[in-house]
């Protein structure tokens, strides 16, 4: 498996949400190389080239991180905190994925420096639309961000 030129790091513990999100991105025309990891620890391993990702070049950074908020062990908030406090990583746009906008963590995410968040809608049309827009926005419109 090649970890080169990864443009999107996608952190999601739910296999279903991951499958639907990846499909939505593809259907929306986001064909950028994507790495899916299933928890916060793996996300940090990827970013710091440790564990399974020890072989990865630490000179390459993803252009976008899609980060699920609610994950066991290391939560999305903790991963976000780590990213935004690291001078090498903090410029990478992070979009939080949440199950609802009623969560108490949304504000905290923004105060920690999250660039955006999307509520995973139940309705697949909206879901696809949201993921597509987020993906396109950061991949196409924010090329200069990093």
């Amino acid at each position: 498996m090649s970890y080169h030129n990864i443009e999107i790091l996608f952190v999601e513990d739910s296999a279903d949400d991951a499958a639907l999100t990846i499909r939505a991105l593809k259907k929306g025309g986001v064909t950028n190389k994507l790495q899916h990891v299933i928890n916060g620890a793996q996300a940090l391993d990827f970013l710091y080239c440790k564990g399974d990702f020890a072989a990865r070049s630490n000179k390459e950074f993803p252009k976008l991180i899609l980060l699920d908020l609610k994950m066991p062990k290391i939560s999305g908030v903790q991963v976000l905190e780590k990213i935004k406090s690291d001078p090498n990583l903090k410029a990478i746009p992070v979009v939080m994925l949440t199950s609802s906008n009623e969560g108490p963590d949304i504000e905290k995410c923004f105060s920690l420096g999250a660039n955006s968040y999307i509520v995973k809608p139940v309705d697949s049309d909206n879901f696809f639309k949201a993921v597509k827009e987020i993906g396109l926005y950061w991949m196409v419109l924010s090329q200069s961000a990093h």
């Binding site: 739910s14 279903d16 639907l20 139940v122 309705d123």
Partner: protein, 393 residues
């Protein structure tokens, strides 16, 4: 006879004179001497008597003066006596008066003694009563202390129970929050995968199959909405109510302008009266207006026109606001279900909805210590009222 006696006497005398011529001369001298002495004596005595007489005369005069004085004095005394008798008579009258007064006073004193005894008795009674009252008072005080103690205990219990309730409430809220979150994921998957079947494998299915899949999609979508509503409702319990003065005219204008109508939708006719300011949480009260006005619009859909009347009136310390529509209305028989969570008085086919809107209105107004109520006539329309504390100036 006398001539005889005198003659005899002259003869006798002449004889005697002759007889006694010698003796008698001596005797006479002696007698004369004696008589001279006696005469002298008598002259002394007469002088003395004269002196004594003069003295007596003086004394007599003195006595006469004295008698005159005495007469005067006597007269004076007589006058004084009379005076004194008059005075005595007066004194007797005065005395009688005094005696009468005295008697009166004695009577009065007797009465006073009786009255005094009565008072003493009453006093004693009062002291007894005071003692009884004092005992009763002590008992009352003890009872009061008991009540206070009970009250304190009750208060303590209330505090404990409230704390328990608050903690249970928090648990419930976090429970409903995480349940809603966790429920959303599988529904999202059901909805998403069904959508994929329709998109990718729709060609392999007949119309019935597609219809069934569409039902799955619609139902899962519906469930998602229910969960969203439940989350929104439980969020209300957590949300801090921040009270400020709300410019209600501005707020309602904003709400009205934020409604977006599709091309084929009817634009409602709004009749908005003067809306006084009230105290409340602006964002929450905005939600109340959104829910009530959108209900008015929704339930007027089957009518020829949509007419929404908004107004207010003052009632004591509150402002009562109302939203009136000429829509479908509801049966007042089911009024008690109107503000319940997920309670609906119309079918899904007739009017879509989850039944959360009025429950949210109810909860928001309740959290403002206000009241919410409604009046309706089936098929003629409804009027919803809510009250908020007015702004005092």
């Amino acid at each position: 006879m006398k001539k005889n006696n005198s003659d005899e006497l002259i003869i006798a005398n002449g004889e005697i004179v002759l007889q006694n011529e010698e003796n008698t001369a001596a005797e006479l001298i002696i007698a004369i001497k004696e008589l001279a002495f006696q005469n002298e004596e008598k002259e002394h005595r007469a002088a003395e008597l004269a002196i004594a007489n003069r003295e007596l005369a003086f004394q007599n005069e003195e006595k006469e003066n004295r008698a005159a004085e005495l007469i005067i004095a006597n007269k004076e005394l007589a006058f004084q006596n009379e005076e004194k008798e008059n005075r005595a008579a007066e004194l007797i009258i005065a005395n009688k008066e005094l005696a009468f007064q005295n008697e009166e006073k004695e009577n009065r004193a007797a009465e006073l003694i009786i009255a005094n005894k009565e008072l003493a008795f009453q006093n004693e009674e009062k002291e007894k009563r005071a003692e009884e009252l004092s005992i009763a008072n002590r008992e009352l005080k003890n009872a009061e202390d008991d009540i206070r103690k009970l009250n304190d205990e009750l208060e303590q219990k209330v505090i404990e129970r409230t704390a328990q309730l608050e903690s249970v409430n928090k648990e419930l809220e976090s429970f409903s929050y995480s349940v809603s979150h966790d429920l959303r994921a599988p529904i999202r998957a059901i909805n998403g995968y069904t959508k994929i079947i329709v998109e990718d494998y729709g060609d392999l299915l007949d119309a019935d199959g597609i219809k069934i899949l569409q039902s799955i999609i619609n139902n899962s979508k519906k469930m998602g909405e229910l969960i969203d509503d439940l989350l929104a409702f439980s969020k209300l319990g957590r949300k801090q109510v921040t009270v400020s003065e709300i410019e209600m005219n501005d707020l309602v204008r904003t709400v009205k302008n934020e409604f977006v109508f599709e091309e084929n939708e009817r634009i409602p006719e709004f009749i908005v009266g003067e809306l006084p300011r009230a105290q409340g949480d602006k964002s929450l009260i905005k939600q109340v207006w959104i829910n009530l006005i959108s209900n008015g619009i929704k339930y007027s859909r089957h009518k020829e026109k949509t007419r929404i009347e908004i107004g207010a009136y003052q009632e004591d310390q509150h402002i009562v606001y109302y939203v009136k529509d000429g829509g479908a209305g509801f049966d007042m028989e089911y009024y008690d279900k109107l503000f319940g969570v997920f309670q609906r008085l119309h079918s899904q086919e007739e009017f879509e909805g989850t039944g959360i809107g009025l429950a949210i209105v109810h909860r928001i107004v309740q959290r403002h210590q206000g009241k919410v109520w409604a009046e309706s006539t089936l098929d003629e329309g409804s009027c919803f009222y809510f009250s908020l504390l007015r702004v005092n100036h």
